[in-house]
Structures are given as structure tokens and as C-alpha cells.
Symmetry: C2
Subunit: 204 residues, 2 copies
């Protein structure tokens, strides 16, 4: 679709069109929504955008999103510091928190090992995970990467590497449909998967 | 889905979720995109949002979007001022411009008469249309409201009202599938509809 509106409006259509999952028609609809929205609500959106860029970053300990140096979970004294649950993304933390089954800490990798898309172990927060496990206070590592190809490969890689560190490693199991996305699992399924986790460092 | 992230990020998820056509999962994906996007591109989006609010308004003559008092089409001396094409929304102007078949002016109503949703003739720029037609320089009014229920009803209403003003009134016809949305018609179909328009003020 060629540029069609006058300057500023077409500019906004283009900007919206660059966001993930927003096609040309959606971008146009959003731009017209902004045009007719009251100035206050647009200013709220602007402020929210800027606040995220200026205030939100990643927890120095676990890699989850945080507004302070550490995220709310790492700062919470009631969490069980002996267990670390390894996930791919911050939104997986949210999905697991919603089950209310898990009281330990997290470690957010920032993705999964995916050689086809050029993501190797060094591109993820794997070294930081080993550093945390290496200090001796961790009694279990739960691998909760997505049950898809790259998530399983990442779990297999981490299992192999953690075997040298003498810490029990488990993997979320029963209930999660294979090939799906952890983030979309319902609370009950995800809770069952926690209960039914099995050790995988003792196999083979 | 309950609030789940820390302050600013959840705030942005909520703000995105209020936009039309953006569900909770899309809002979350967009917020994470903003979080990891470079600050410059977010600032470009912010500036585009603000520019639309501060610079874009509606043409005093035709109701199309404009950055000056009049829109680019009304200001263009090459346009044929004897013909007015009446559409519902500014995006319909863009769709018709894309056909390159039409060289007259437009009149953007700002919607269609839709009593179920509480939109009556006084909520649209209908009085302004009559004022333009009433000055005597207009030789044809082309009704290009959407070929759906409310668009047809609006066209019927305008035909009835314009009959007193002694100006030929035509309606886009052949080619547009009934029940669809003008904005999505392809250029050829829309061009044919222009060619095949028929007078409707002489019927009944």
C-alpha cells in the first residue's frame, strides 16, 4: 500500500506497521483511533511507552523484568532460595506465578538455544545460571523451557552441563501437550506439570 | 488475566490492551517488543503519536484529514470542483484515490446513519454537505457510502434530501459486492463502480 495520507498521519501508520503482528489495515485503524482519541489517553500511552524504556530493565540475578536492581521475586524474602526454575522468557514467569504452585526462584534465559536462528548458549543467560548453581545453596534446578523443539534441546543441553555440578535437575512433565507453548497452558495443567516433574539427570 | 508484571510494564500492557483490535496476548507481545526495542525507535513512535494529535485535524471544507485548514485534495487546483464524492471515512478517500479514476472533490461524513448505535444525521457532516451543494457550483453528487445496511440507508437519506436541491445524484454501483466494506474493494472493482454509476434521484 503506497503512502496515502498527509505527513503525520501516514507517519503514525508506518510506525504502527513496524510493530510485531500489526498489518497495514490494523496500523491504519490504530492511527485513526489515535486521531480521534482524546489527547489525555494518547498522552497516557506516550508516558507508558517512555516509562517502560526508562524504568524497566532486567533483574541482575535472574533476568526477569524489574524496575529495581532485582525483580520483585528475587527481593521477596518468603521465596524458597534453594530451588531455581529455569524459563525462556519473563512471560513464562508470569504464567507459572499464576498457578500459585511454585514458591522458589526463577532464572530467565532470554530465549532458547536455536542454531537455525543463530542463537547459541552464549547468547542466553546460561553462564549466570551456572554461577548461581555453583555457589552451593541451590538444591534443585527445575527446567521449565517450552516443550517444543528448541525448548527441549535447551533443557537437554542444560541437563548435560548441570550434571557436573552435583545438583538435582528436573523437567516439567505430565500435562503439557508436546509442541505447544508454555505461556498458553492453563493453570491446572501447568500446576500438574509442576507436581509431576521427574529427575532427568539420572537417566541414560 | 490479572495484573502480572511490575508497574511500568503492566501499565504499558494495559494501555496497548485498550487499543482497538489488540487482545491481552497481543498487548503483552507489543509491550515486550517495546521493552527490547532500541530507545530511538520508541521515541519515533512517541513523536508520531504526538504529531498526529497536534498537527492533524479535519479539513474545514470536506472533513478529510488535513494538516492545514484545507486538505491536500481541496487545495489542489487541478481537481474538478463541480463533482463531490460523498464517503463515510477518510480511509475511503484513500481507497478511491488509489483507483486514479476520480478527479473531483470529496465530502467525508464521518460515519453512516446508524440509529441502533445512536448515530443520526446531525452527528454526521450532512449539513456541511448541503451547504456546499447549495452554493450552485456543484453539478453532480456521487454517493460512495459503504454498500452495507447503514451505508445504503445513508445514501437513501441523502438522495431524498438532495432531491430538493436540483443536483444530479448518483450512487457507486456495478462491481461492489453487497454487504462488504468499500475500503477493502480492489482498484479495478472500485474503478468499474465509478464508471457504472447510475442516477438514483429519478427513480420512484
Amino acid at each position: 500500500m503506497p503512502a496515502a495520507y498527509e505527513g503525520a498521519l501516514q507517519d503514525l501508520v508506518d510506525q504502527f506497521g513496524e510493530l510485531p503482528g500489526i498489518g497495514p489495515k490494523s496500523a491504519q485503524r490504530l492511527a485513526f483511533h489515535i486521531l480521534s482519541a482524546d489527547a489525555e489517553s494518547v498522552e497516557r500511552l506516550v508516558e507508558a511507552l517512555r516509562a517502560v524504556k526508562s524504568r524497566v530493565h532486567f533483574c541482575v540475578t535472574c533476568g526477569n523484568v524489574a524496575e529495581e536492581e532485582q525483580c520483585a521475586i528475587c527481593r521477596d524474602p518468603r521465596r524458597d532460595r534453594r530451588v531455581i526454575c529455569v524459563v525462556e522468557e519473563p512471560k513464562d514467569v508470569v504464567a507459572i506465578e499464576r498457578t500459585r504452585e511454585y514458591r522458589g526462584l526463577y532464572h530467565v534465559l532470554g530465549g532458547a538455544i536455536d542454531p537455525i536462528n543463530g542463537v547459541g548458549p552464549d547468547d542466553l543467560r546460561i553462564r549466570e545460571l551456572f554461577a548461581r548453581v555453583g555457589d552451593g545453596s541451590v538444591e534443585e534446578v527445575i527446567l521449565a523451557t517450552d516443550p517444543d523443539v528448541v525448548g527441549e534441546a535447551t533443557a537437554a543441553y542444560l541437563t548435560r552441563m548441570l550434571r557436573t555440578m552435583d545438583v538435582p535437575v528436573s523437567r516439567l512433565a505430565s500435562g503439557l501437550p508436546v509442541g505447544s507453548d508454555l505461556e498458553y497452558a492453563d493453570e491446572v495443567t501447568l500446576g500438574r506439570a509442576f507436581e509431576g516433574r521427574r529427575r532427568i539427570d539420572e537417566e541414560s
